[in-house]
Each structure stands twice: as structure tokens, then as C-alpha cells.
């Protein structure tokens, strides 16, 4: 059935993916200057990556980083100027925290410079957890970049901002969960550890995954060493352990965007999907391995997940009526190894899936593959298109292309910007410590329920005839 063979071939070495416009991924050679792209209804000027390499500073044994955040989302009339680049450069410290490494969503967590990354759900700021256990917060509208340090903040496995809040940042640490309250108006660069709330429960460590409810009231946390998953009322600092027999720990949590379900995977070949009304769960045994990664569609009705040891993406569909849930997961894409013929030799792409990310509009899916298969081409991020027509809500998966970085760079972590108005913005953290933002300009096929800036977006011009005969997966066919 469907395979990577339908994809356009990866770019030759030395090219980096810059953005998507008019259903095409645009690339440029390193150091090239400016692109002018003119489409039917959009007009962008894209400045390619600016690289700012800085010396490292050494503080008391830690290799601290010096970095720069240059970003502006300037909108002037019909022209969008996007220039964003952030460069971190570090000495790598090899730190073996096997447990977290095993279950983290980040590829090669121990030696990854950026250990966790989180966009703020409502604004353009983001937080980055670094190898030296510090967290930096970058805000394009502010000159200060607060650095968060706490004596309990060790081996950060995950970060997430509290929804419907300007300041709350939850950090999954080795021994506890820290919830930082960083005043967005404060000019302080080193918020004191008094700004952090410590949430801990005996036996609940190391914490490898956290997830806020979309309503911002509850936080769930998981530890592979604890069979119970904790539901925290963060402000009141009390927690409810939810325990089920089997699985032996909880490794990954993901709250669906509509707040109705929570995915909880275990270290064994079993994962659970909790419904959040009465907190009951469905058991989903896998055949081969544990659920490695999962992501929800924006309306919370569909769950895509990958299983360790398999190169397949599965889908589960949930309905509002209880008792009529899915019976089995269906395979929607097969990402097994495929060879592309390029000018300078064959390129092999494909393999086990590390992480999945679905953009908040539900139209782009990014997949991070485990690096084993990649020969010399860093082509591990694979983007496929998801089209969803308004009239007939069927699930379609169409190929889009590969996002590539510089030669020698491997992608380690991917995440979409939660509310990028002009389409989707994919953030990729690379092995070199670089973070790049790849914009995908498109018009949403869905009118968003709640426009963040008021009026809904204009109706899209549907231009995907080229792909009609190329779809990887459609619900109609299966």
C-alpha cells in the first residue's frame, strides 16, 4: 500500500528547507540571501536562516550557552516578513539518564543540547530546556531572556506552558514537577526559585511526561517507575493518583486538544486512552512494542500513534457517543525504508518513528524518524499533508516532502507553533543545538472555531488536484 516512494525525493546535500508555499517546499543553499515568493493570494519575503555563532561561556563547570533570538513576525499589508533564527551552541556533555532517555520524545535525549522545547499556547514566546538543566525563555517582544534554575531542576524531560495563563510553565524533572510562574512583564533575567512551585509525590519519579488540560485547570504527570498517573490540581497542590493494573508505569501522556481524552502509554506493549469526564480508560494492547509517540487531531476525535519497533503510523477514531469507540487501530502510513535515486548516489529513508506532531489546524503532520536509516542525509523529518474538507470530513494523508537541515545536522525534536496565523510553523531542534522555525504557508481548509484575533480566516482556495491521485491514505479506501 502506501509508502515513502510517493514522496518527492530529498534535496541534495547542502540544501536546507526554508518554508512551504503554494504546496511546495522551498529550499536554499546555505548562505543564500533572500527569496521572493509570489503566490496566488500571498506574497512573502522570506529571509533565510541567519546564523549567529557565539563563543560559549563557562560558569562553574557548566557549559552555558550564549544565544540569540532574532525573530519578528512583521505584518505589513500583504507582505509577511519572516526572519527567524535561533542558534545555540554547546559543548556536549554526555549524561546517561537511561530511563528518561528511553522514554523521552526527544531523539538521543542524553546528548541532545535542547532537551525539551515548548511554545507558549497563545503568544510567540517559547521555553527551551538545555543540557545544563537551565531553562531559557525567549520572547520576541521582550529584550530579556529569563533563565530558570532551581536545585531540583535536573534532567528535564518535558516542558509545557499552562494554557489560559500568561506565566505558568510546568517542568518535568528527575524528582518532581516544577511549575514556574514567570511574570511576563518582569525585567529580571534570573527569576528566583521562589517563583517555582514544587509538586512531588513519593514514588513518582523520574517524571518523563506532563500534559496540561486544555482548560488549564489540571496537569497530568507520568513516571515509568510509578504505576499511577497523577492528576494535579496545581494551584491547590493536591493530586489524585489514577492507577490501573498492568503496564508497569506510565511513560507518555498527551491530552487531546478538546480536553476529552488523554493518551497514556506504558513501558510494555499496552497503552490506555482515558476519557476525562469520569476518568475511565480503554486498554489498547499493541502486538509488538510500546506506544512510542502519539498525537491528537485538533478536534480530539482522532489519535495517530506509532509503536516501537514498527515503521507504521496507526490511527484511532473516537466518537462522542460512549460505547461506540473504535474496535481496532488502522494503519494509515507505512514508513519502511525506501531508496531514492539521487544524482550523487542512492539515499535510503525510512524506519522507526520517534515522534509525531500534528499542527493545530490539523493540516500538516510532521514525523521524526529514528536516525539509524539515514545515510548521510539528515532527512529524518518527513512532512505529509493532511487535507480535511469541510463538507465531507474524511481523513486523508498526502505526501508533502522532507524538511532538511544543514549537512551533518540531525533533527532531534519537532513541535508546531500553536497559533501561527498564516498556516503552520514547525520548530525543529537539531543535534548541533540549533533551533530552526520552518513556516508552511497555506490557507486553512477549516474555519477555526475561535479566531484568536477575532475574525475567521477567508475561505480557502482548494488547490490540491495534483495530489488527488497520490493520497497515501483515505478513509474512503480503507
Amino acid at each position: 500500500m502506501c509508502s515513502l516512494a510517493l514522496f518527492p525525493p530529498p534535496l541534495p546535500s547542502g540544501n536546507t528547507t526554508l518554508c512551504e508555499s503554494n504546496n511546495e517546499l522551498l529550499s536554499g543553499l546555505n548562505g543564500e540571501d533572500t527569496f521572493q515568493v509570489t503566490g496566488h493570494d500571498v506574497n512573502y519575503i522570506i529571509l533565510p536562516f541567519h546564523h549567529y555563532w557565539h563563543d560559549f561561556l563557562h560558569f562553574g563547570g557548566y557549559h552555558s550557552c550564549h544565544n540569540l533570538w532574532l525573530a519578528c513576525f512583521v505584518e505589513s499589508g500583504n507582505t509577511h516578513l519572516l526572519a527567524c533564527m535561533c542558534v545555540h551552541h554547546f559543548l556536549l556533555l554526555i549524561d546517561s539518564e537511561d530511563m528518561i532517555a528511553e522514554f523521552s520524545q526527544v531523539l538521543n535525549w542524553p546528548d541532545c543540547v535542547v532537551r525539551a522545547f515548548a511554545w507558549h499556547p497563545h503568544t510567540d514566546k517559547f521555553a527551551v530546556a538545555l543540557l545544563d538543566d537551565s531553562i531559557k525563555i525567549y520572547n520576541p517582544k521582550s529584550a530579556t531572556t529569563p533563565t530558570l534554575k532551581h536545585r531540583l531542576q535536573r534532567n528535564v524531560a518535558a516542558l509545557q506552558w499552562k494554557p489560559l495563563c500568561a506565566s505558568g510553565l510546568a517542568v518535568a524533572c528527575q524528582s518532581c514537577i516544577l511549575v514556574w510562574h514567570v511574570d511576563p512583564c518582569s525585567l529580571s533575567t534570573r527569576p528566583s526559585s521562589g517563583c517555582a512551585q514544587v509538586l512531588s509525590h513519593p514514588g513518582h519519579s523520574p517524571v518523563t511526561s506532563i500534559s496540561w488540560s486544555p482548560s488549564g485547570s489540571l496537569l497530568v504527570s507520568a513516571s515509568p517507575m510509578d504505576t499511577a498517573m497523577m492528576v494535579w490540581d496545581v494551584a491547590a497542590e493536591n493530586c489524585v493518583p489514577l492507577q490501573r493494573v498492568g503496564g508497569g508505569g506510565v511513560t507518555l501522556l498527551s491530552w487531546s486538544p478538546d480536553g476529552s481524552h488523554v493518551l497514556a502509554s506504558t513501558p510494555s506493549a499496552l497503552f490506555r486512552v482515558w476519557e476525562t469526564r469520569m476518568w475511565t480508560c480503554e486498554r489498547w494492547p499493541c502486538i509488538k512494542g510500546r506506544c512510542q509517540s502519539g498525537c491528537w487531531s485538533p478536534d480530539g476525535s482522532r489519535l495517530l500513534f506509532s509503536v516501537q519497533g514498527e515503521s507504521v503510523i496507526y490511527a484511532l477514531t473516537f466518537t462522542a457517543t460512549p460505547g461506540f469507540g473504535p474496535q481496532a487501530a488502522s494503519v494509515v502510513a507505512d514508513l519502511s525504508e525506501t531508496t531514492f535515486n539521487a544524482q550523487n548516489g542512492d539515499i535510503v529513508v525510512g524506519g522507526e518513528i520517534q515522534n509525531l506532531a500534528w499542527d493545530p489546524k490539523g493540516e500538516r503532520l510532521a514525523v521524526l524518524l529514528k536516525g539509524r536509516v539515514c545515510s548521510f542525509l539528515f532527512s529524518a523529518v518527513w512532512i505529509s499533508l493532511l487535507f480535511r474538507t469541510r463538507t465531507s470530513p474524511i481523513f486523508e494523508l498526502l505526501p508533502c516532502g522532507f524538511v532538511q537541515g544543514e549537512s551533518g545536522d540531525e533533527p532531534r525534536l519537532i513541535q508546531f507553533h500553536p497559533n501561527f496565523q498564516q498556516g503552520a510553523l514547525l520548530t525543529v531542534c537539531w543535534s548541533s543545538g540549533k533551533i530552526s522555525h520552518v513556516p508552511f504557508y497555506f490557507l486553512s481548509a477549516r474555519v477555526p472555531h475561535f479566531g484568536f484575533n477575532g475574525s475567521p480566516l477567508p475561505r480557502p482556495q482548494e488547490r490540491f488536484n495534483d495530489f488527488a491521485n497520490q493520497s497515501l491514505y483515505t478513509e474512503m479506501l480503507s
Partner: protein, 612 residues
């Protein structure tokens, strides 16, 4: 009559169900107790067969009946003494007052008696040397006539039961064990109970250990008093050949300690289970769908939410509102609907009015408290510091006001008419009576304060007159009367769970109205919702700037007494911010079209820019 007063049909039914389950759980618990108490590793077959025969004996059945009676009594006391708004003692003297209150004293006494009954059942079940109070013994070596002697082991178990029951009751006051907390998340009753069993076991085992330690110390020093008294009244002799238990050697009997501990654990486990079941049953949300045409129209949400009596129903209704506004589009549609003849949004008006009055009530309480604290420096010299002390707030929190309506939900508020209450106690609680009960109509803070001040000065004078000759007593009183830090802040937010639900309910409904409200019923109230939230936000921010208000309480270790009320003010602050963000995120720039004062608009702009 008390029970009728407080006990709504729904609540009574739920309490009965919880007691029934507790009684049903008794046989398996007893079986486990029997197995553990007769534990012998060397004769496993004999051990098990003994246990089996014991469980089927008449004795065991009689014990079970007695224990069921105890459980029913405990369940009844739970129902009688429970509260959804914790009583927070603001000073040590207030806590002492709670402990010595006749109503509380009665409860402790009953618990003591029931503890003795359980102790007797345990002694009979464990059997062996514990079985009877008296046994025939030969006092003299020369084989004289046998007499009845006191079996001190039996007495020890009985007294430990009394002690455990009594200390359970007293600790219940200190840890607010009668406070019924509402669960963070909704769960089925069975699952909730199952998940709480490990905690109950842990708590009862550790508490039994602590109580046993205290009891041993007490028995070591005072054990001869009950022993002598029993011997005298029952004409029993003390067996001189047996070891006395109020000695170091007698108390270092490991088997005795084990049996005392396991009996205490059994006692506390059954009682905690009853309490836990009661909490789970009584906080369950299953509200009738609102509809004005059914026979039980008095049970529909819009009606119940506006009622003041009993307070737990109001809490349940508010919780239900918060849930329906979040989860149920169908029931939201009912809230937004118009009445059929007339076209009035009665449901929305009732719901929003009640929520807004709750919020403004809290705002005023905070403002008044803040004013009292601010003027305290001046007022203090005038009225000998009594003003600050009374009820530890300048205002009347709900649990005090409630006394007017519902004398029984506040078991530990000192009873002013009792002979036990000192003038100091009377002074602590008296102003409360003047405050308006919680009520839809809002009293202006100025009026409330004026009334309060009028009282406090006059009472202060009386106080000075009456206590003038008792100077030493006064000094000791002031030592005790030192305010517990942050207690006043806790007391101020004691009922804030209601406000949190009101905020959640309102904000979710407003959010849903963006797409679901066909007739625009919410639009009319949006300005008042926003402004009351912003005013509350200001008052809360101001309150958190006071000393002690933002200091975190000590994390309570896992006890049966839920201490989530200690952090309610933080939860309220977070819920308020989230509620405002929920509205601003949904409406975005459209909020500029809402009629608001310029000050509020400025604050709202901060929220729109995510700068709060």
C-alpha cells in the same frame, strides 16, 4: 429535629447508602482482622481452621451485630457533624474552644463508648488471655477458695479502645476531619473507593501506632486508677501472681502490643472507611436535568443554585453547573434557552445572578477585611485589640453566618449559650450574629463594617469591665490568643470552592455562548460578568500582598483529614485568572465592543496581551 432540619432527602438517602455499604464491608474486614490477630507462622493449618471456626461461631456473629451498631452510630455522627465549609480556628484559644464545646464533647464521649465496644469485640475475637474481664484465680498458695480476679489484658484492650475512640474524635477536630472535600476530578464511586483503600489502611495503621504509643504512656502513669475502680465496683481481685501491666516489664509484652495495635487499626479502619464512603457518596454529582415542567421543578439546577439551605446542595449545584458548562452542550443549550411563553432567559438569569452575587460577596468580604487590616493600627489602641481578634476577620465568613440558619452544620463553632464558653469565646464569636446570612442581596461593605464596629467597641468595654479583676487569666488568654499565621486568610477563603465553581461555570458558559448562544442572552450580562471578575481580581491581588496571605501552608502528610481547604485561596486566584483568560481568548478583539469602564478596559487589555 436536628436531623430533619439539616437532612435533605437526597443527602439522607446518600448517607444511608454509605452506611449500608460500610456495614456490608464489615464481615470481610473482620475476617481479615481475625486472620491477622491469630497469626501463627508455625501452625498454618491450625491457624486457618481456628479462624474459620471462630468466624462461624455465635460469638463472632454477636460481635458483628455489635460492630454494625457501632458503624451505624459512626455513620450517623458523620452525617450530623459533616460540613462542606471547614471551620478554621484562627487562634489557639479558638481551637481549644472547639475542643471543649459541649456538642463536640458529646461526640467525643460517644466515640469513647463506641471505642470500648469495639475494644470488647476485639478482645473476644482475639480470644485466649484477652477473652473475659474476670477469671477464677487462687489468691493464696495454700489452695484456698478460688476468687474472681481482674483480667488486666482484657481491661487493657477495652481502655485502649476508649482511648482510640476519644483521640480519634479530638484529632478529627484538629484535622477538620468532618470537612467533606470535593474531589478534583469526577470518578465513579467504586473506583474512588478502591483507590482510597490504600490510603485508609496506611492512615489507620499509622494513627493506631501513634495512639497506642500515647495510650501506653498514659496507662503507665495512670493505669492504676481505672484498674482500682473496676476492681472496686465489680468486686474483683487483683491477681498478685500475674504481671501488672502498668509496669515497664508488663508493657514490653510484644504480643500484647501487637494485639493492641491491630485492634486499634481495625477500629480506625472501619471508622475511616465509613467516613470515606460518606464523603464519596455525599459529594457525588447527579443532578436532575433542569426543566421547569416536571414535578420536581424544585430540584432543577436554577432553583437549587439560588437556595441557601442546606449548603451542601448549593455546593453540589454549583459543581454541577461547572461540569455541565464544560462538558454538556445539550444542557448548556437549556441554560441559554428562552422560556416558551414570554421568551425570557430565566435559566441564564438565575444562574448568572447567583454566580455574580457569590463573586461580589467574596469581593466585599475581601475589601472589608483589607480595610479592617489597614485601619487596624488605629483601631487597636481604641478597642484594646479586640476588634481584630473577633472571629479573626473583620467580616463574617460563611461558616459563621450559617449558624443562624443551620446550627448543626457548624458543630465546632463555640456555643455562646453554653456554660463552657468563656467571655473570651463569646467575644470571639458574637459579632458574627450581626452579619447578614449569605444571601442574594448584597450588603454594602460600609454598612457591614459599621454594624461590626458598633458592636466591637461596646463589647470591648464590657470585656474590660468584666475581666478587670482577673488580670492573670487575661495574660494567659493573650498568650493563647496569638493568631495562627495565615489562618485568617484561610478562613476568609474557607468556602471558596463555591466561588471557584461559579467562576468556572460562568466562564465556560460565556465561552460556549460565542458559538452556541442563539438568542444572545449572555451578551446582556457580559459587561457585568467581566467587571465583577475584574473587581474580584483586583481585590484578590490586593489580598495576596498582605503578609502571610501568599505564604504556602505546610504540605499536609497523608492523613484522613483533607487539608485542601488550606490552599483554596491559591486555587481561587488561579481559577479567576484562567476564567478571565478563557473569556478574553475566546472573544479576542470583540471585547472592545463591550461596555466597560476605562479602568476595566485597561485591565482587560493586559489580559488580551497575555501580560497578567
Amino acid at each position: 429535629s436536628h436531623a430533619n432540619f439539616q437532612c435533605n432527602k437526597v443527602i439522607c438517602w446518600r448517607a444511608t447508602a454509605s452506611i449500608a455499604w460500610a456495614v456490608l464491608l464489615l464481615p470481610p474486614t473482620t475476617a481479615v482482622f481475625v486472620i491477622l490477630s491469630r497469626f501463627s507462622i508455625f501452625h498454618p493449618m491450625q491457624w486457618l481452621s481456628e479462624c474459620l471456626s471462630l468466624l462461624l461461631s455465635i460469638n463472632a456473629i454477636f460481635s458483628l451485630i455489635l460492630l454494625s451498631g457501632v458503624i451505624i452510630m459512626v455513620g450517623f455522627l458523620n452525617l450530623e457533624y459533616y460540613t462542606v465549609i471547614p471551620t478554621i480556628a484562627c487562634s489557639k484559644i479558638a481551637l481549644l474552644g472547639q475542643l471543649l464545646h459541649p456538642r463536640q464533647f458529646f461526640s467525643s464521649l460517644v466515640h469513647g463508648v463506641m471505642g470500648m465496644v469495639v475494644g470488647w469485640c476485639c478482645a473476644v475475637t482475639v480470644g485466649g488471655r484477652y477473652e473475659t474481664l474476670g477469671y477464677s484465680c487462687q489468691q493464696s498458695d495454700d489452695g484456698g477458695p478460688s476468687q474472681m480476679c481482674l483480667n488486666e489484658y482484657h481491661l487493657f484492650l477495652l481502655l485502649s479502645g476508649v482511648f482510640m475512640g476519644f483521640s480519634h474524635s479530638l484529632l478529627g477536630v484538629i484535622h477538620n476531619m468532618n470537612y467533606v472535600p470535593f474531589h478534583t476530578i469526577q470518578q465513579y464511586k467504586y473506583l474512588r473507593f478502591k483507590e482510597s483503600i490504600p490510603l485508609v489502611v496506611k492512615c489507620s495503621a499509622s494513627q493506631a501506632l501513634y495512639s497506642m504509643r500515647n495510650f501506653i504512656v498514659l496507662y503507665f502513669f495512670l493505669g492504676h486508677i481505672p484498674k482500682g475502680w473496676i476492681c472496686q465496683t465489680l468486686q474483683l481481685e487483683v491477681d498478685r501472681s500475674a504481671h501488672a501491666l502498668d509496669t515497664v516489664g508488663g508493657l514490653l509484652d510484644l504480643s500484647l502490643l501487637y494485639h493492641t495495635w491491630i485492634s486499634g487499626t481495625f477500629l480506625l479502619f472501619t471508622w475511616y472507611t465509613t467516613l470515606q464512603l460518606f464523603r464519596i457518596f455525599v459529594t457525588e454529582v447527579s443532578f436532575p436535568v433542569q426543566s421547569s415542567f416536571t414535578d420536581n421543578a424544585h430540584q432543577c439546577l436554577a432553583k437549587v443554585i439560588a437556595e441557601k439551605q442546606p449548603i451542601i446542595l448549593k455546593f453540589l449545584a454549583l459543581q454541577d453547573l461547572a461540569l455541565l458548562s464544560q462538558h454538556s452542550p445539550l444542557r448548556r443549550a437549556e441554560v441559554f434557552s428562552l422560556s416558551q411563553p414570554g421568551g425570557h432567559p430565566h435559566n441564564w438569569i438565575a444562574v448568572s445572578k447567583e454566580c455574580l452575587s457569590l463573586l461580589s460577596d467574596l469581593t466585599q468580604r475581601l475589601v472589608t477585611y483589607h480595610d479592617t487590616v489597614a485601619t487596624n493600627g488605629r483601631a487597636k489602641s481604641l478597642s484594646t485589640g479586640s476588634e481584630r481578634k473577633n472571629s479573626c476577620l473583620g467580616v463574617c465568613p460563611l461558616h459563621h453566618r450559617r449558624r443562624l440558619l443551620q446550627p448543626l452544620t457548624a458543630p465546632f463553632t463555640p456555643d455562646l449559650d453554653s456554660p463552657f464558653s468563656s467571655p473570651a469565646l463569646r467575644r470571639l464569636t458574637a459579632p458574627v450574629e450581626q452579619c447578614s446570612p449569605w444571601h442574594g442581596t448584597v450588603q454594602s461593605p460600609h454598612i457591614a463594617r459599621r454594624g461590626h464596629k458598633l458592636w466591637s467597641t461596646s463589647a470591648g468595654e464590657q470585656q474590660i469591665e468584666s475581666t478587670a479583676p482577673l488580670a492573670p487569666r487575661m495574660t494567659s488568654f493573650f498568650v493563647f490568643n496569638v493568631q495562627l499565621p495565615e489562618a485568617s486568610s484561610q478562613a476568609l477563603f474557607a468556602d471558596s470552592q463555591a466561588h471557584i465553581w461559579a467562576l468556572e461555570g460562568l466562564s465556560y458558559l460565556v465561552q460556549a455562548s460565542f458559538t452556541e448562544d442563539q438568542f444572545g442572552v449572555v451578551q446582556t450580562t457580559l459587561p457585568s460578568i467581566l467587571s465583577s471578575m475584574l473587581v474580584l481580581q483586583e481585590a484578590v491581588d490586593r489580598h495576596f500582598k498582605l503578609p502571610h496571605a501568599s505564604s504556602k501552608p505546610v504540605r499536609c502528610s497523608s492523613t484522613m483529614g483533607d487539608c485542601s481547604y488550606k490552599t483554596l485561596r491559591f486555587a481561587l486566584r488561579a481559577a479567576l485568572k484562567t476564567a478571565l483568560y478563557r473569556i478574553t481568548t475566546t472573544f479576542g478583539e470583540h471585547l472592545n465592543a463591550v461596555q466597560l469602564s476605562s479602568e476595566h478596559r485597561k485591565k482587560l487589555q493586559h489580559f488580551l496581551e497575555y501580560k497578567e
